[in-house]
């Protein structure tokens, strides 16, 4: 087997916010350089937590996370700082700074981390906004943007420093069909044009399969299945099948645990 | 908001605050009084300093010409030692007397200087020899009662004669 160059590697990670709740149990994922990899699963399965682990926001109880072959250590602030400059994250609802304009939002990482002159910053910001198709919206205030537009501005901000790793937290959530298409298209094009690696956390199977090279399915903190889009669609695993096909009942039950209905209604058995 | 505008407005705010502080210090408080003019110190000893406080005024002919710098106790003579700071512009003869007076009936106490007739003036560090202590209310009442008692006793004896 040829050694794949993984930009990010998660090895046997177990994580829980406190002792009572374990979010992830012994999960291992690889994210090869230049690929778009999707992490799918239902809400609360631990997908977003994986992004936080990669970004060094939280530390796993066991296992390791490697970024460019270096371990991610939340306590080493200098290393963490350097790591975070190499990645960009698109939050679920944009997480734009509401007190700044669209332009100012995209300029933020440039102003904070570089000593570039204002004229250069302006050029870079306009180029990034152009890449997401919103150069004309630069002077708008965040409140004036629609959901889809806000998401794209946030994307422009995430790529302002040309990161090697771009992470997307539910980028397709709540978008209309046109914005969906635009966003999916952008993610793929950006990835290929800049040579970056992208990780998409989403539960939108169709959009993800259209653009990703590989996908993992997380269920109850474990990897339920992984493979290319074709492999997953063809999978016989019941958990994978239920999720991919969107079947209402299966390993993930339809009914929330409750007494038998006869008992609840007081019917004679 | 334009950066320049914000900076200007904050500057105005700070200036307003500073002005308010200056106004309070000068108009409302006693900063304007001569405390920072050049002064010289003299001492005065009293049997009883009464309710004299530090920074109480030193007046002569009703005009404030100094402040009380410190009040301490001399345990050799068992007297109160008051250090006065007087405005350098005003010289007083060496036989000036210092009295502890009350402003109004129930007001704060201050020191009043009454000039003497000597040619020589008080030098820094000199001591005022003639002093009159504060009037203690209890002594005054006692005197009045005693005086009243003596008077009525005398009249009684006269009447009884």
């Amino acid at each position: 087997m040829t050694t794949i160059d993984n930009l990010v590697q998660i090895d046997h990670v177990t994580f829980g916010y406190d002792r009572s709740r374990t979010i992830l149990t012994d999960v291992s994922l690889q994210f090869p350089r230049g690929n778009v990899v999707a992490i799918m699963g239902s809400s609360g399965s631990g997908k977003t937590t994986l992004l936080r682990l990669i970004g060094g926001v939280v530390r796993p109880q066991s296992g390791s996370i490697l970024f460019d072959r270096e371990p991610v250590d939340p306590s080493d602030t200098d290393k963490l700082f350097a790591l975070r400059r190499r990645l960009g994250m698109l939050f679920q609802f944009g997480a734009l700074f509401t007190d700044l304009s669209a332009f100012e939002n995209v300029a933020f990482p440039l102003r904070e981390h570089t000593d570039l002159p204002e004229s250069m910053i302006r050029d870079i910001v306009l180029l990034k906004l152009n890449a997401v198709g919103l150069r004309g919206a630069a002077s708008l205030r965040i409140a004036e943007l629609s959901g889809g537009m806000g998401r794209r501005i946030a994307l422009a901000r995430a790529i302002a420093l040309d990161p090697e790793l771009i992470m997307y937290d539910e980028p397709f959530a709540g978008l209309d069909p046109i914005s969906l298409g635009v966003t999916a298209n952008l993610i793929r094009r950006l990835n290929d044009a800049t040579g970056a690696t992208s990780i998409i956390v989403s539960h939108d199977v169709d959009e993800c399969f259209q653009i990703c090279d590989y996908a993992y399915l997380i269920s109850s903190g474990r990897i339920a299945g992984h493979g290319t889009a074709a492999e997953l669609r063809a999978s016989e695993d019941p958990e994978v099948r239920q999720f991919i096909r969107g079947e209402p009942d299966g390993p993930v039950p339809f009914h929330y645990p409750a007494q038998p209905i006869g008992q609840e209604l007081g019917l004679p058995s | 908001m334009e950066k320049r505008n914000v900076e200007t407005l904050v500057g105005v705010f700070v200036v307003l605050g500073a002005l308010a502080l200056v106004f309070l210090s000068l108009k409302a408080a006693n900063l304007a009084s001569f405390s920072f003019d050049s002064t010289y110190s003299v001492t005065a000893r009293f049997d009883n300093v009464g309710g004299l406080k530090i920074r109480a005024p030193v007046k002569s002919a009703g005009v404030t010409i100094g402040r009380i710098k410190s009040i301490s106790f001399d345990d050799k003579n068992f007297q109160g030692v008051v250090k006065l700071e007087l405005d350098r512009h005003y010289q007083f003869p060496t036989d000036t007397s210092a009295k502890i007076l009350t402003s109004g009936l129930l007001g704060d106490q201050y020191i009043g200087l009454e000039p003497g007739a000597d040619d020589k003036s008080l030098q820094p560090g000199d001591s005022i020899k003639l002093t009159q202590s504060a009037v203690v209310l209890e002594d005054l009442i006692g005197k009045a009662l005693y005086g009243k008692a003596a008077e009525s006793g005398g009249r009684q004896r006269e009447g009884a004669k």
């Binding site: 926001v57 700074f97 904070e112 | 914000v6 904050v10 705010f13 605050g17 502080l21 106004f23 309070l24």
Partner: protein, 263 residues
């Protein structure tokens, strides 16, 4: 009711209180630790001083003038009975400088600036803005919290000075212009009785302490608030209550320290 349960509940509550106190203290230490960063990025603090200080001026000035005027009015009625009406100025000035200026400014500050700080920080946290900053390798404590903390500490003394000054002016208008007390007597009585260091100075010290306390409370409660509309609403109410109570308790402590009847 099982007495053991009650005891356990009480113990749990006490423990929660203790941990909250510890958590809050650590937050305070972090705020102080990042204040030098706020000084270095003074442009950020400047914007906050504008938001906290300048925009509070209207309420401070109107309240100050009203309080000063009312004080003069009420004081006159009381003092006139003892023939001491000319001391109105002194009473107004001392009340404002020592107590009402610092305390009322702090309470108004808690209501206006404190709640806006709490809501802002709470909503920023809810909208993941602080998390976004963190992942962009920008410390939100230096960039968002510390400048607001610094701005609060700087704004409070200025606002309080303006409050007291406007109050004295308001008292002057009522006492001299409306009631007819002699202007010279008004000012001279005041100047005789008000000491720069004791009254004005101590007042300034009080406002700095109040500024630190109320800004810290506002920021902390905002930072720890729930990311829901109800959560933010509850948080702003809590800010006003806790800020006000803290200010009043601190006022009592400071007053007993500063204005004790030492010789």
């Amino acid at each position: 009711m099982n007495p053991l349960n009650v005891l356990a509940a009480l113990g749990a509550r006490a423990l929660w209180l203790l941990t909250s106190l510890g958590h809050a203290s650590l937050f305070f230490v972090e705020l102080v630790r990042h204040t030098p960063a706020a000084l270095r990025r003074f442009d950020l603090s400047l914007v906050q001083i504008h938001a906290i200080g300048n925009l509070s001026l209207v309420i401070i000035v109107t309240s100050g003038a009203s309080v000063g005027g009312v004080l003069a009015l009420q004081a006159y009625y009381a003092l006139d009975r003892y023939g001491a009406a000319e001391s109105v100025g002194l009473l107004v000035a001392l009340s404002l400088l020592r107590e009402l200026g610092p305390v009322l400014t702090a309470l108004l500050f808690a209501g206006r600036a404190g709640t806006s700080l709490t809501a802002e920080i709470g909503l920023m946290k809810a909208g993941e803005q602080l998390a976004a900053m963190e992942i962009m390798a920008v410390d939100p404590r230096s960039r968002v919290l510390a400048p607001r903390f610094l701005a609060g500490i700087i704004s409070m003394p200025l606002l309080s000075a303006i409050f007291s000054a406007v109050g004295v002016a308001g008292g002057y208008v009522v006492a001299v212009k409306l009631i007819g007390i002699d202007s010279a007597a008004f000012w001279s009585q005041m100047q005789d009785g008000v000491d720069v260091f004791k009254d004005v100075g101590n007042g300034v010290v009080k406002t700095i302490v109040f500024g630190v306390a109320s800004t810290f409370v506002a920021l902390y409660i905002g930072y720890e608030s729930d990311a829901t509309p109800e959560g933010v609403a509850q948080a702003t109410t809590r800010t006003v209550v806790i800020s006000s109570v803290s200010v009043l308790i601190l006022d009592f402590l400071l007053t007993s320290l500063m204005f004790s009847t030492r010789p």
